[in-house]
């Protein structure tokens, strides 16, 4: 056997032959002259085709009433209703179910033998169908509805297996409902590539609703003709079976086949496919009932799909509003978006997603690697101008994505901000990975001798080629969903930005107040302070004789307290001014800067004995020399202050490639216990009582830290109590 779709000798709708379980006549109107006749007329009537060809039908049909009935059908008065015919021949009286209809090639009459002209069975089916109708309408969901349809068709037909296929946009089919003999393996959920049902076959289904093949292996019967072209048998119920179809179903072990079209909006939505594993004949009445059921189901299908879509949309909307709600309340925006993960994915029915805020990318579900996503966004930045972009074949436009087709053959990209790099990306896998395909192409549908024919095996391969590097398409409502999310996010972000602006405004105001406070502290508060100091001094100078020792001591205390207050206010002012300071950066030789600091230190304390060690020449760096001078002065004077022995201080630096230079000031002082290593940098935090080590204000190190941080650097200390301390700091 060698069948090839491209090598079809005859088109599928005009094969020039019929199935053997009935007879077919092609007639010329108005006298109904026989133009073609099936070659099995002998089997049923004991006549040869030549006995009929080119003769009027009345020659065959004795009863004039029957001829009139056929005529009525042809003229459309009693269209497509089943006719009960009887034909008397030498062998006796034969009963037939007949249909007659017009085609471009002539009138066609099809006859199927029956045992008796009894019509009662039809009424019982009619009653059954009426019952089914009310059940169908009461089902609530689409899957439940389809399952019911399958079960009712099986009850009507008694077939081993009844399935409902649903076709997707690409024409691939999925078994969405099934009822079957208990011992058969289930096909529910399996997918079949679009090529399993060729386009011409689909068109035929759309036109005549029903296809019945009682015995797929029965040899077909040719039509005998007087030099006429093969007639169009699109509407024929007896049309012979295409060799492909035979092969396909034989491979599946199917012997008898019934398929009923499910139509929605003039499109073939799916099929009710019935399989029997031995030949099985159905009477015309049963088939009409099935067809009727199919038509009813098709009508209801539109309803159920609308309901399903509506409930899907409602579900999606509630998902959306839930997501938006949590985004608008969350402090961490990304967390709210990606937790719980399935929510973000359900929004567009994706299997993976990436949320990109600037350089921060969060991945959810099945996605390409972080690096791959980053490169993809880089590409999108330059290549995608739309705020919403979707493709079901990313590899076609972005070649590197071939590497991660298994997670992202489909991309839905949402740009949230035009200015910033804010994106949400959703991914879908290559369609081959998505679903369970019927049959392993490598085993179940193997064809012999490497034949080049079209077969399920080949069709699967061919189909694989067509869906490679593609995902299931993004539906318009899924795109809408992404767009809605963007609108919501922008709303939330805008609100947050407003809040932030307000906070900034308040912050600015409180900063101004703080500056005013610092000014008042430095000038206005100092004035009464000076008064206290000066008048105490006058008292001491002019009236000391009138006071006893205690009194003098009290006045001394007042003087020293007011001095101390001035020191504290000065420190506070210095720090508050630093808060607003602009750095005056310039390239500075630290050696020169340090020499100045040392000179000032010794000049202000001529009594001081301290050696300054500089092991190697310091580098030249960019900094604010005035402020850095203050750093060195403060650290050196601390080294001097907190020291019980012969003090020395060492100033040096460490360099590591790629990292900022680290300067250090090391001393041989009293050291600092580990638990104070951080607190010493806090404002007004001292470690020692007032009367020890010169009674500092606790502002020096806070000022040093502020200066270092203004330069973008860090400061820390290492020390062993009793063995000195080393302050390290960087200025970049």
């Amino acid at each position: 056997m060698n069948v090839n779709l491209t090598n079809h000798e005859k088109p599928i709708h005009a094969p020039g032959s019929i199935q053997s379980h009935g007879m077919l006549l092609v007639l010329e109107e108005p006298e109904l002259k026989v133009l073609q006749v099936s070659n099995n007329i002998n089997t049923y009537l004991g006549l040869q085709p030549q006995d009929l060809l080119d003769r009027p039908l009345s020659h065959l049909l004795i009863d004039p009433q029957q001829a009139i009935a056929i005529g009525q059908q042809l003229t459309g008065e009693n269209t497509r209703n089943l006719l009960k015919l009887s034909i008397s021949t030498d062998r006796g009286k034969h009963y037939f179910d007949a249909i007659a209809y017009r085609t471009a090639d002539g009138a066609i009459v099809e006859l199927e033998p029956i045992d008796s002209p009894n019509e009662t069975s039809f009424l019982s089916f009619h009653a059954a169908i009426a019952g089914i109708l009310s059940q169908i309408q009461s089902t609530s969901s689409l899957p439940e509805f389809l399952q019911l349809v399958a079960e009712e068709v099986r009850k009507l037909t008694g077939f081993d297996r009844v399935m409902v296929y649903q076709f997707d946009r690409t024409g691939a089919g999925c078994v969405v409902a099934e009822t079957k003999r208990a011992d058969l393996s289930p096909y529910l959920g399996l997918h079949y590539p679009a090529t399993d049902l060729p386009q011409p076959a689909r068109e035929l289904y759309a036109r005549c609703w029903l296809r019945f093949i009682p015995n797929i292996s029965a040899p077909s019967v040719d039509l005998v003709t007087l030099n006429q072209q093969p007639v169009d048998l699109s509407l024929s119920i007896l049309r012979s079976v295409d060799a492909c179809c035979v092969e396909y179903h034989r491979n599946m072990g199917v012997a008898a086949l019934l398929a009923i079209a499910l139509m929605q909006e003039q499109q073939l939505w799916g099929l009710i496919a019935c399989h029997h594993y031995t030949p099985k004949y159905l009477t015309s009445e049963v088939r009409i009932a099935c067809k009727f059921l199919g038509q009813l189901a098709s009508l209801e299908l539109a309803n159920k799909i609308r309901q399903q879509e509506l409930s899907d949309r409602v579900k999606l909307k509630s998902l959306q509003s839930e997501l938006i709600e949590s985004i608008s309340q969350a402090s961490n925006f990304v967390e709210a978006l990606i937790q719980p993960a399935p929510r973000l994915l359900s929004l567009t029915n994706a299997t993976g997603a990436a949320v990109c805020l600037g350089n921060e990318i969060s991945l959810v579900g099945a996605t390409p690697s972080l690096e791959e996503v980053r490169s993809l966004i880089d590409w999108a930045e330059t290549q995608v101008s739309d705020n919403l972009f979707a493709t079901d074949s990313l590899p076609q436009i972005y070649l590197p994505s071939v590497e991660f087709k298994a997670t992202a053959s489909g991309l839905l990209l949402l740009r949230i901000s035009q200015i910033r790099r804010y994106y949400i990306l959703w991914f879908r896998p290559e369609v081959i990975q998505t679903v369970t395909w019927a049959g392993d192409p490598n085993s179940s549908f193997q064809l012999e001798n490497g034949s080049v024919s079209l077969s399920p095996r080949r069709s699967f391969e061919r189909w694989q080629e067509t869906v490679k590097l593609k995902s299931l398409p993004w539906q318009s409502y899924e795109l809408d969903s992404a767009n809605d999310l963007k609108t919501a996010i922008v709303g939330v972000v805008l609100r947050k930005a407003e809040e932030l602006a307000q906070i900034n405004q308040e912050l600015e105001r409180s900063n101004r107040e703080l500056a005013a406070f610092a000014y008042a502290a430095s000038h206005d508060l100092k004035e009464p302070l000076r008064g206290i100091y000066n008048y105490s001094t006058i008292l001491l100078e002019d009236y000391a004789a009138l006071l006893d020792l205690d009194g003098v001591d009290c006045l001394q205390t007042i003087k020293s307290l007011s001095q101390r207050m001035e020191t504290l206010i000065d420190a506070l002012l210095r720090l508050s001014l630093l808060g607003k300071a602009q750095l005056h950066l310039q390239v500075t030789d630290l050696n020169e800067l340090l020499q100045e600091a040392i000179a000032v230190l010794f000049a202000s304390r001529p009594e001081v004995q301290m050696s300054v060690r500089i092991p190697r020449s310091l580098p030249t760096i960019e900094c604010d020399p005035v402020l850095v001078n203050e750093v060195f002065s403060n650290l050196m004077s601390n080294a001097l202050k907190y020291n019980d022995t012969d003090a020395w201080v060492e100033i040096g630096y460490q360099e590591r490639s790629g990292e900022p230079t680290i300067l250090y000031v090391r001393d041989n002082g009293i050291g600092i216990q580990t638990h104070h290593h951080e607190t010493i940098f806090k404002l007004f935090k001292r470690l020692h009582s007032q009367d020890k080590y010169g009674g500092g204000t606790g502002a020096g190190l806070a000022i040093v830290k502020k200066i270092v941080e203004l330069h973008g650097g860090k400061i820390w200390v290492e020390s062993i109590p009793g063995a000195g301390a080393t302050f390290y700091f960087s200025l970049q």
């Binding site: 205390t557 216990q673 935090k685 001292r686 470690l687 020692h688 009582s689 009367d691």
Partner: protein, 150 residues
């Protein structure tokens, strides 16, 4: 009113002026109890654990009450409070906070950490006198501290 003149009072206070004022007021109230003073938080801990400069029991007897300033140099008064109240051997010693801070957060924090009283140092000297008076009357005279371990 009975006084227990031998029970030592420990004052944690870094300000010499404030301590002098306190001494002066107590002298006026004829407080007989020996008063010990620590100037930093670290010193308070050394005193109680008899470490550092306070190695001998004679230098650092177990106080019956501690008057604690919050803003101490070194280890902060808040931390001293927490350390002592978490140590089973010191948690029974009444600790009265004595500070300039009227911050409700400080007050709440101190009571949470087990302070037995919270006194605010007033600016006005007669108010200060009343506060110190109240402290002396309650903590040094009326109140019975847990028996001192010898």
């Amino acid at each position: 009113m009975t006084t227990r003149p031998n029970e030592p009072l420990l004052v944690a206070e870094d300000s010499n002026e404030d301590f002098k004022m306190l001494q002066r007021l107590m002298r006026r109230m004829t407080v007989q109890n020996p008063i010990y003073r620590c100037k930093t938080g670290d010193e308070v801990l050394d005193f109680l654990y008899q470490a550092g400069d306070y190695q001998s029991p004679a230098q650092a007897p177990r106080p019956s009450v501690i008057l604690l300033d919050l803003n101490l140099p070194g280890i902060d008064g808040r931390d001293v409070l927490e350390r002592l109240k978490q140590d089973i051997s010191f948690k029974e010693i009444p600790i009265v906070v004595f500070t300039t801070s009227a911050n409700p957060k400080d007050i709440e924090l101190c009571y949470q950490r087990g302070a037995n009283g919270y006194l605010i140092k007033p600016m006005d000297s007669s108010e200060l006198e009343k506060t110190v008076q109240a402290f002396v009357e309650y903590w040094l005279e009326a109140n019975t501290p847990p028996s001192v371990v010898s």
